[in-house]
């Protein structure tokens, strides 16, 4: 009798398992690839999946999280092996390469008038390539100069600093190693090293390429920007900038030992919470600048791979992720610049520090305008940066070499 009871229990358990499995199998499974780290948390992204599944009980959203470092590799290997997820989160700078691969689909047919109207026109431009739009912007950032008011005011620096000379002089005055470093300089072999340099390039009227994609990063204005940012400021930087990423500098800034550096709005919030008296200003124009201030505008977006098994569902999920409410919650929670004008009017974005970054959009230049293969261009610029930084080449030579490599990558040599 006892044996028969156990047998019955096992049979019931198997039956229950099969029923549960058949229930799951009948639901459509949407595979989503998302980044983690650099401000992105699993919880915030899982919350969106749960909200979507609550409204769509017949859909199972499976989220895979990959560190930003490995996201590009994960995307292209999944595409190369024919196993792409349904939805991918990408840096918009990757769009030309992915579009050329035929790896992602243009989303124009799926975007209605209301969705177009939600965003700043410049936001749509950041996901445009060859006349089509390949992503829906999910995160946007501008950069500004964060400074420690207490340190700079004690050194008698007049704030805000209105020129590059003023910044250099301020860094010189406050620099007192190892207690205080004048300027936070990231020079690690990492994307944010290029991003932060772009602020200074743009502020001096330089660009990486022209509109035809030909490298212009060896222009006199670019050389001057490099000599200032990686040259003159180096004397007042923290030790061994080559070991530092921008993402690491916030720790030094929060400890009150760093006078200034360029970063996101979310780092301002973090420093304020740590009790630092933070000031924020845009990077002012350099000697050859063509605008009073400048910032690089970086966007990340949601894209749909051409191999997606559930394209319509994927698009629906992407629209859900980026609807007004979800986008606003996301930007406020993670500290991104609102890509929608209506969102920028929300009370959460009223604090003074938010306004500096939002108003910065007016002077913003996209990170990868006219660049087809960002990863290669980034490598070329990082090599040039480190060569100059280590004294292996002067700025002009280092940037000429970078320009040669970029032209090969752009196919315009």
């Amino acid at each position: 009798m006892k044996g028969r009871g156990i047998g019955l229990a096992v049979a019931l358990a198997v039956l229950a398992g099969l029923l549960a499995w058949s229930g799951t199998a009948s639901a459509e499974t949407l595979r989503v690839l998302l980044p983690i780290g650099g401000g992105y948390t699993e919880e915030d992204q899982i919350a969106i999946a749960e909200a979507y599944m609550a409204a769509h009980p017949d859909v199972q959203v499976e989220m895979e999280f990959v560190g930003w470092d490995a996201l590009w590799d994960r995307i292209i290997t999944s595409i190369a092996t024919g196993n792409a997820p349904d939805v991918i989160y990408i840096a918009s700078r990757w769009i030309p390469a992915l579009a050329d691969m035929g790896a992602i689909i243009p989303l124009d047919p799926y975007i209605d008038e209301a969705k177009w109207a939600l965003y700043y026109p410049a936001v749509w431009e950041s996901v445009e390539y060859q006349g089509q739009h390949w992503g829906i912007v999910r995160a946007m950032s501008t950069k500004a100069l964060l400074y420690n008011k207490t340190l700079l005011e004690a050194a008698g620096v007049e704030l805000p600093m209105t020129s590059w000379e003023a910044i250099l002089e301020a860094a010189r005055r406050v620099h007192n190693p190892p207690e205080v470093y004048g300027f936070g300089l990231p020079a690690n072999r990492f994307v944010s090293t290029v991003t932060e340099f772009q602020n200074w390039l743009y502020a001096n009227g330089a660009r990486i390429t022209n509109e035809e994609g030909v490298a212009t990063v060896d222009s006199p204005a670019a050389v001057e920007a490099m000599e200032f940012y990686f040259g003159a400021l180096k004397a007042y930087a923290q030790p061994s900038p080559i070991e530092w990423r921008r993402e690491d500098l916030i720790r030094l800034f929060k400890s009150g030992r760093l006078a200034m550096y360029t970063d996101h709005v979310f780092s301002v919030i973090e420093a304020l919470e740590a009790g630092i008296d933070v000031g924020v200003q845009m990077v002012p124009a350099g000697p050859q600048g063509d605008r009073p201030f400048a910032t690089v505008v970086v966007t990340d977006s949601i894209a749909i791979p051409a191999q997606a098994r559930h394209k319509d569902l994927a698009v629906e999920f992407a629209m859900f992720m980026t609807n007004f409410e979800n986008q606003a919650t996301w930007d406020i929670t993670l500290g991104f610049i609102p890509p929608m004008p209506a969102e920028a009017g929300l009370e959460a974005f009223n604090p003074w520090y938010w306004q500096v970054f939002i108003e910065g959009l007016e002077y913003g230049i996209p990170q990868a305008a006219s660049i087809q293969d960002w990863e290669g261009v980034q490598e070329a610029l990082l090599t040039a940066t480190q060569k100059y930084f280590l004294g292996q080449a002067d700025a002009e030579t280092a940037l000429k070499e970078a320009a040669q490599t970029i032209n090969i990558l752009q196919g315009v040599q």
């Binding site: 590009w72 061994s240 080559i242 090599t383 930084f389 752009q410």
Partner: protein, 312 residues
């Protein structure tokens, strides 16, 4: 005399039974060794990038590219410079692993109080994921917050923090040290096993003959553990040649290209330099690397064979 009748089925079974026993291993080798190597070799003769996965026959052009391509602004051929750097880096890491491994094994072979605890501790680094170990080393060597600089400064050995990962030569040595640390436990454990297998009576006989500890070690112990050391060093060479994580996590091949060893260069060509690199060129570089490692392996085996013949 009674003979058991063996029909054709039995003979067939006898003939194929052995084959069936090794079939799983053959399948494993075919799937995980022969196919990947064959695929790499195949791709090396095609122009194929991740931008365009349709292979176009390229003949020997990828190999020609590997032996002639110069990155703008870099001295020498890109592939050969990476290969030369790799040989030096592997040599340095291996030197550390073998010398410290031998020393560690000898130490752990002594009658020490708490020997088992030390042996367990010695193996711990091998249990750590390589990326985590490399990350730990990167922070340990950090200029501002690193433990090493903290100790050096407190002891007054340096007046300024040392940029372990911020200067080309220092980064080259630091990544090799981190790699050696990761691979050291394997070396210690293997050599220790070798030491334990040295017959005690041989050492006793040498002692009776009046041999000093040095003579006993160099004339008795070392020749007997030589095959173990060489075999372990061979395995370690192959692994170190393919070592990617420590460098990628600590320096990403920088500063400039100071730590851009072949695995890093191959990765960059395959995944980053899509427009002038690609899978075909990366496959050609990989094929040459496999040939180089094979040549080194044959050299080791020759040395191993020579040692065995000499000892007989």
């Amino acid at each position: 005399m009674f003979h058991r009748w063996r029909g054709p089925g039995a003979r067939w079974r006898a003939r194929w039974a052995g084959f069936l026993y090794v079939l799983p291993m053959l399948l494993y080798l075919a799937l995980f060794l022969i196919y990947p190597i064959g695929r790499v070799l195949y791709l090396s003769f095609f122009d194929v990038t991740l931008l365009s996965m349709t292979p176009q026959w390229a003949g020997w052009s990828n190999y020609l590219w590997a032996f002639t391509f110069r990155m703008p602004g870099q001295e020498g051929v890109y592939f050969l410079a990476s290969l030369g750097r790799t040989v030096l880096w592997v040599g340095l890491s291996l030197l550390l692993k073998v010398s410290l491994g031998l020393a560690g094994a000898i130490l752990l072979h002594q009658e020490l109080a708490g020997r088992q605890v030390y042996r367990t501790l010695a193996v711990l680094p091998w249990g750590l994921p390589w990326a985590i170990a490399a990350m730990t080393w990167a922070w340990t060597m950090n200029t501002q917050f690193g433990l090493v600089n903290g100790v050096l400064l407190r002891l007054g050995l340096v007046s300024q923090p040392v940029a372990f990962l911020g200067a080309p030569v220092a980064a080259f040595v630091s990544t090799a040290v981190a790699d050696a640390w990761i691979g050291l436990p394997f070396m210690v454990v293997m050599i220790l096993a070798g030491l334990q297998s040295v017959p005690g009576d041989l050492l006793d006989a040498a002692l009776v003959d009046g041999a000093s500890p040095w003579i006993r070690f160099f004339r008795v112990t070392l020749p007997l553990v030589r095959p173990v050391v060489l075999t372990t060093a061979l395995l370690s060479t192959v692994w170190t040649f393919n070592s990617f994580d420590p460098i990628w996590v600590m320096t990403r091949g920088g500063p400039v290209s100071a730590t851009e060893t072949l695995p890093i260069a191959i990765y960059n060509v395959a995944f980053r330099l899509l427009r002038f690199g690609g899978l075909g060129k990366a496959a050609a570089m990989t094929t040459v690397q496999v040939l180089v490692v094979t040549a080194i392996t044959l050299g080791y085996l020759q040395a191993l064979r020579g040692g065995q013949e000499g000892s007989q």
